[in-house]
Amino acid sequence: MWFGPNLQRSYKYMMFASKMPSLRIDQSDLKCKNGCDYFGNPQWQGYCSKCHREQMQRQRKAEKESSATLPKPEQKKPERGLRIPSHSSFSKFEEKRLRQSETLKKANLLKFSVFKKSSTDDHDHSAEKRPPEFKIPGIVNEGMKRDFRTRFPQLGPAVDRDSRLFVHSFIMDVIKCANVLSVDELSERVQRQYQRFMKHMDTSSHFANVEADTKELLMDFVEKHAMTYLHELPSVVFSPSGTDDERLDRAMSERIQQLSWVGERHLECKLDRNNPDCRQLLYKAISELLGMDSALSPGDKLSRVRRCCRHVLRLCSAAPASADDLLPALIFTVLKANPPRLVSNINFVTRFCNAQRLMTGEGGYYFTNLCCAVSFIENLTAESLNMDKKEFDCYMAMPASIGGSAWAAALSLCGAVREADEQRAHAQKLLTHTHNIHTRAEQLAANAQSFEEQIAKKVQDVLTKTPLEIKPRRELPRLGNLKEINTAPLIDLGTTTAQEEPQTKPEVTPEPLAATLLPTESTEPNITIQPETEPKLNILGFEVIERQSPSKSPQNLDQTWDLKQTSSLELLTPSPLGFTPFDSRSIDELMTPDEFGTDQLPPGLSNINYDIDLSDFSGDNSIAEEAPKSEPKDPFSPEALRKITTFDPFAPQTSKGFETALDSFDEFSFVDQRKQETDPFEVVHRGQDPFSPVELSKDPFFAPEKQSTSILDDNDTPATACLLPSPIQPQSSNKPT
């Protein structure tokens, strides 16, 4: 048995065979088979040691070549290639092209893995007796944990642990038994393990709450993880040692290559290779079938087959596809796909898939159909194709690649088309994406626009609802009232101020009001011009501005006071910011205005300046505290007289003295006091209203601004601060007018 045919079988098979009990040996058989005179040995296949080694080497070489080029037809049938040498080169080219285009990149990878796999198998086989040292890597456990969490989040940790324990013991058991048991026994054992786990699920309290469907899923889960790991181990469960699987794979592959000429008409299935849809479906079916080899667990392989068959079913779409249609189409698909390691895969699933599912599920049904297809291909004869025996033989003798080239071309087209489709789909996606972005951008722009309009509208509404004029009106009456109320003290002040003028000048100037001095100067000329208009305005009396303007009384003293008062009012708001620097400067300024007044300005102006100072000072004193007021008033009056005679020397001294006294007061407190002061002063002005109207015309205010700017260069930024608020008042005054 192991002489003739076995020599052409795999090395692996030979090793296996050598373990068989030897047969009875004749005398002639003891000699070397090669005819050299040495004795042969049954262990060496009847060769002598030398011949055997040569034979072995030759064989191993051949083995390696054939396994390396397993799917390539030109290697498989060398005699055919020899017979038609002119074709061989063409067929090679044709085959290469076909491989590249038809069977996807995946298939190429698979082929590589086939080669690798088989070589490791061989290696493993030679060391078959080596005691296995297996330790399940932690990755398996971790992977299970993770997968369990994602697939069965509702199940408790007890179930998780149980299934993992089962998988562990299952794997260990299989590995332990793999070298002892035959494949069938192993398969039986695995099936019993499945049943054990199922029973465990039925009986264990951990699974009490698990539904039947979930149990089946758990079963799949367990099977998947156990088998995925075992699948990776060489020749344990996948094309296990001691079986013909690998050889059969090769034989099957050859057979399919040989039958590549079988077309749709031979199988009586209605496929149209000119129909792009049909081509596409066939292409998809084929790629699924090829993918079966790369799936690791029986369940995954089954689902691949199922998907493949679904595509095939759609191929024969003429009817509600029945088995009559499915099987021929599936056979055709298998013929065109020539899936790698087909027999190994089928055997693997048959042996180690949970029998329950294989027998009843949809996957099982399609898998059975695949088995049928493979069986049909194996046993295919002229009869089964309804063709003449001669014709059939002729086809079979033909170089493998010729028959299938038309379909191969069609399928290769498919590959390109599919790629193009993918590209197109991708482009389409990008397009829609950009379109989305566009629309969103537009929306955003529109939003911004509408928002802007909305805001504008709102602002408009608010403006129409609450016109700006109202505010100043409201403020003004208040101020007016206050001023009216506090009329009494002003009168006193007025008297005092007249006397105090010279003295107050220096005192006031150091204070922030110095800036106001300058504007007052400007206002004075205006005031003088405009007194005539005043009386009309007086009637309006309510408005502060009018009062302010009248505050600039005909007399310089009064005017200055008014101005100061107004300015002080104005200062109330800006004061906290503007004041401090002003004070610090004020001392220097004190000197400067005096000097300037004397040097540059006309003498009249300089006097005016002093008047302004006085008004401030008097205001401060009067408002700040009554006691200080009274005290200074008395001394002031005489001093003022003196000062009139000698302006400069006294002013600084007195101012300094007062300053020290005044320093104790905060600027803010001054401001507050001034508020009070202003009122009384204004009242006084009202009395003097005829003068005030002159000021009502904005001119005085504008003038001061101009002057202030010019003066600003010299000293007073604060002056501007004081002036800035003032424009509001004139405006308001304008409106009423």
């Binding site: 089946e216 088995a323 088995c371």
Partner: protein, 210 residues
């Protein structure tokens, strides 16, 4: 094998018969309650599941359609192995198809013994006037082999429901008979399990001899 862990009965039923006798139509009629003269639906009718509740027992029927062409006859064993029931369909207007049924019965008896429940269905009784298979002959044959016999018309929806119901009941009975001899039963299960790879390897062995 026939029972899921939860106590639901899982039965596998194969539809056998010559091509064009109406296997697929029967199946479609039963599952979807539709008949399509022109076969325009795109629905696949090769494998279908049907859940039943008979006398409080849940039953899950997996019905497998098979390819009926003559050239695929040899593949029969792959289809019907491990099945609990078989429906043998013939066309009452086609005597050959009835002969085929006889072949199937013989084969099934040989391969599966009494484990499988047989039901013979004479289809297309809407074409009664074209009948070529004598009514008596069919029924007597069915009795002889211990099979139920039904007349059905997928087109008119006659006898289809009854056919499947009766088959399911018989299968449950058969299953429970076997379950009573429970020790035997488990061993039988194992034996059946073993058969799967064996039949597979027999295919391969055919190749080995090549």
């Amino acid at each position: 094998m026939a029972t899921a862990p939860s106590g639901t009965h899982n039965f596998k039923v194969v539809l056998l018969g010559e091509g064009c006798v109406g296997k697929t139509s029967l199946l479609l009629r039963y599952i979807e309650d539709k008949f399509n003269d022109k076969h325009l639906t795109t629905l696949q009718a090769t494998f279908l599941n049907k859940r039943l509740n008979i006398n409080g027992k849940r039953v899950n029927l997996s019905i497998w359609d098979t390819a009926g062409q003559e050239k695929f006859h040899a593949l029969g064993p792959i289809y019907y192995r491990n099945s609990n029931g078989a429906i043998l369909v013939y066309d009452i207007t086609d005597e050959d198809s009835f002969g085929k049924v006889k072949n199937w019965v013989k084969e099934l008896k040989k391969m599966l013994g009494s484990d499988i429940v047989l039901t013979i269905a004479g289809n297309k009784i809407d074409l009664e006037h074209e009948r070529t298979v004598p009514l008596e002959e069919a029924e007597s044959y069915a009795n002889m082999v211990g099979a139920q016999h039904f007349y059905t018309s997928a087109k008119l929806n006659q006898g289809v429901e009854e056919l499947f119901l009766d088959l399911t009941r018989t299968m449950i009975e058969r299953y429970e008979q076997n379950a009573q001899t429970d020790v035997n039963r488990t061993s039988q299960v194992v034996v059946v399990d073993d058969e799967a790879p064996q039949t597979q390897s027999s295919c391969c062995s055919g190749n080995r001899s090549n």
